[in-house]
Symmetry: C3
Subunit: 381 residues, 3 copies
């Protein structure tokens, strides 16, 4: 299906993505990065036997000069032949994005950092602070429980000079059943004391401290992204329904600082409800968009049933494989175009409406959500 011109030509702000692996990957590594599974299971088959696997062969193969539906072997051979840098460059270029908001906190050692990503892509890169990484960095300095809150605040204030937003991965650590209220100084101190006194690596997983960090970000007026919905087997998906955030959303509403619910699948209709009734809530369907391959249109349609068009963003959640940058954008454009074309076909809306909705979701909502930090740097669209 050809894309509607308004969608095909719309440059996207990818408001949540990560670095890509710098080096060549073999088949096992490629499959491990393809879905949320750790890797191929002896009880299953190749992970190319999936919607995203089919989408890679259909849509990514041509970017590497192969025919659509190239075999997996041919695809991986061509990928190796071109080399990681060229492959990464091609997919980033093909994504049709103007700005990338990058969370560099996941597996930084083997991924491109911000500068590398900027060089590879030629795009404007913006920084997202992963709150848990920041707190773990503070903990690693040997801080006392009494000083923990202040040190975190200082560290975040420093990052806020350049970053455009923060991200919470509470979903992965304690789930989204977070209380609403800002924790008191005494509560933070007590929780920090328990955490800092614990043995082993300092992996933050404490409801009070996740909540403390979120309020810290809001104090800095930094928009806060939340991982919501699907992820890898580390999380408990039953605890990642966005509706579990209702109390926190109610408590933070009056700050007027945006809260951005990422991914959301398979709870995207729940997230859309929150975007309708809470003035500061935005949603996307990132990660799912490329995972589901040709079903992206179904997801876009479900998301847009009750989410106001002014509160929906685009993200790829690309990580590891540069294919995800391209597929995320390509599948999102396809899904949005399918959604809009259906309404044009039965005259539910006009081409002007379709163009307006595309601009909102592709660029304008993100610039508004991350203003003034993002809009000040505006260079594209």
């Amino acid at each position: 299906m050809t894309l509607l011109p308004c969608v095909a030509n719309q440059s996207l702000i990818d408001h949540h993505c990560h670095g890509v692996v710098r080096t060549d990957v073999d088949r096992a590594e490629f499959e491990a990065l393809l879905t949320e599974a750790d890797g191929v299971s002896p009880l299953g088959t190749s992970l190319f036997d999936s919607m995203v696997g089919l989408a890679v062969r259909r849509w990514c193969a041509p970017v590497l000069d192969l025919p659509p539906h190239a075999s997996v072997d041919n695809y991986l051979a061509r990928r190796a032949e071109l080399g990681a840098t060229e492959v990464n460059r091609r997919f980033l270029a093909a994504s049709g994005t103007s700005d990338l908001l990058v969370d560099g906190g996941f597996q930084p050692e083997r991924s491109t950092d911000t500068d590398e990503l900027a060089a590879l892509s030629g795009k404007t890169i913006h920084e997202i602070v992963r709150l848990e990484t920041l707190a773990e960095g503070v903990a690693a300095t040997g801080v006392s429980a009494a000083d923990f809150a202040t040190r975190c605040a200082e560290a975040l204030a420093l990052r806020a000079r350049t970053a455009v937003g923060c991200k919470s991965i509470a979903a992965y650590r304690v789930g989204l059943r977070l209380a609403g209220a800002r924790p008191t100084d005494a509560e933070v101190r007590a929780a920090a004391g328990r955490w800092l006194a614990s043995a082993g690596p300092r992996r933050l997983a404490d409801e009070t401290l996740h909540r403390f960090l979120i309020w810290l970000a809001l104090d800095e007026r930094l928009p806060v992204q939340f991982h919501v919905g699907i992820g890898d087997a580390d999380l408990d998906l039953a605890e990642c329904d966005p509706l579990l955030l209702t109390g926190l959303l109610r408590a933070t509403r009056d700050t007027g600082v945006p809260i951005l619910l990422l991914h959301n699948y398979p709870f995207h209709r729940n997230a859309a409800y929150l975007a309708q009734v809470f003035p500061h809530v935005y949603v996307d369907i990132g990660l799912a968009t490329h995972n589901v391959g040709r079903r992206s249109g179904a997801l876009v349609a479900e998301l847009l049933e009750i989410a106001p068009f002014g509160k929906v963003l685009y993200s790829s959640d690309a990580f590891g494989l540069a294919e995800h940058y391209y597929l995320g954008a390509q599948r999102f454009r396809s899904g949005l175009s399918e959604f809009l074309a259906a309404g044009l076909a039965d005259e539910s809306w006009t081409e002007l409406d379709a163009g307006h909705i595309t601009r909102l979701i592709g660029q304008r909502n993100a610039r508004r959500a991350y203003a003034p930090r993002l809009s000040n740097e505006r260079s594209v669209n």
Copy 2:
């Protein structure tokens, strides 16, 4: 898409709706009444940027003599020109409904009451008793805890002379995690005592008392409607899944008195399951039907996957804007027609079947559910 004739010609019983605002509304008020959001957010855009907003411009504009897809400004100007009374009259007439079952308990001061609605619409109006309003009225008389239960029973018996059913908004006050058992006299007395002794306005929000009122309605053999699923930001949607009512449905099954699950989105598949396995449970997809605009067909199809056709009703949940009366019906007819036409196209069923299903959902199920109170007053279809 043209409607199937059997659907286009089917007069509907709207088994759950409210009054409309009597007076002209400005743009801010219109947008505040358009969705479940309190109003336009500075972080979003106009709430006309939504499926329901597009549907108003597409479908409501012609009812006001404007071309489809009229601009928002032109739409609101024409609305003001015609005046609230004429606008209300037109949309009520265009809805193609025969009977309205009206819950007058929400914002009565600025909405049309039963008589006004009857005069405006020329339709048969039936009364639904909002249980919490009834109890709050009893509380306002200065009743003692010891007399509370009896006074409520008396008040409901009085209303039962004319009303056709009751409604519980427990979802808004305490959520749907209600116990099944009828509370004992002592439990009701204790709960009433706590409530009546509390300071501030007498807003009922007590699990025991909501449950008490529901059993009171069943004693009167009055069908009980439940708000389920989406609503405004006052509710906690995680606590509004109809499956939370399973214990209560099991406990009330043998009464044989209908329980009607309203709205249900995004949990409508869960509600459909309850309608299949519990003999006294009915479902609708009201409120969502107009909220989702051209996606109403997707919702109807999901609802009807496992809900028996003999247990599905139509409602608009119209409130405030008369547009919702028309859009609710128009989008429902469109969705049902789309669903039925798809099955006719691949010969999954016949035109006779389509007509039969339409009559069940449009009229007959409601007459059976609210019999003998509703069917005795039958005047249309």
Copy 3:
């Protein structure tokens, strides 16, 4: 719609089904067996007023030499005329299955047993051990709490000589909120003691004992099926979300023994997630497939969004009416064909891909999941 040839010609392994009623059934019995409702409700209409009812008239009627869309009366008259044995034989033959994995533990007294089903169908029958029935059988011998665990292990070891897998109906008894850890001997002994000391019929409903039995099956390296999602009014659907099994799946992952999530509707997207991230988890959409009639394609598409194609199985969950054997297969083939044809039409995949996916889901995944017990007996495809 005609089926894709690759789907039409694919012989299916039905990895979860039950016996059929041996004798003729009247209309009330037929309707009681048609859906998950106990029977027709005076507040509803005939249960033929449902998607599955329409599907019976459309698809089953021709198998009994009637025209499509035969009336209910004609259908039931013809059914009676042919007699239960001939009707059962026809539908089993028409299902196009090669192997049936039969759980004989549900209402065995009026259903065909394994030998009868083999004789009727001419298919290879494999035995699934219902764990709760096994434990209830052990309890009925008057075993002591101290010996209970050993007697269960012995009984299961005996069954494991011929059975290919086990099934847990914890969903029906205590819900799926099961802990992960293998219970200790002392815990099992204590729980058995409480259960064996209780009065009344020995119906197992104890979280510790359900979990004990599951681990026992894994010790025998017998794949474990779980009832998940919809069922009759005995279960509490809110407690049957597959995500509630996350802890148990995490705990059992390293056993490498398959866990198979049955039915899953309306939580099939949640189940698909588990099949993606847990190496030993398989999913199906049985029971729902025939319940939803012509909507089976929507369910297949939702299931396959993120479930790897190597982890999806076919089952009918046929019980009672032989129609369900045929409808389950027919609706599944239709749904899969619809899904695959849509992707062929827009060139999302090739015919080779479609054939490969069909073979995986129709046969190969089941042979792999139940290997070596099932594959050793391979006779068909």
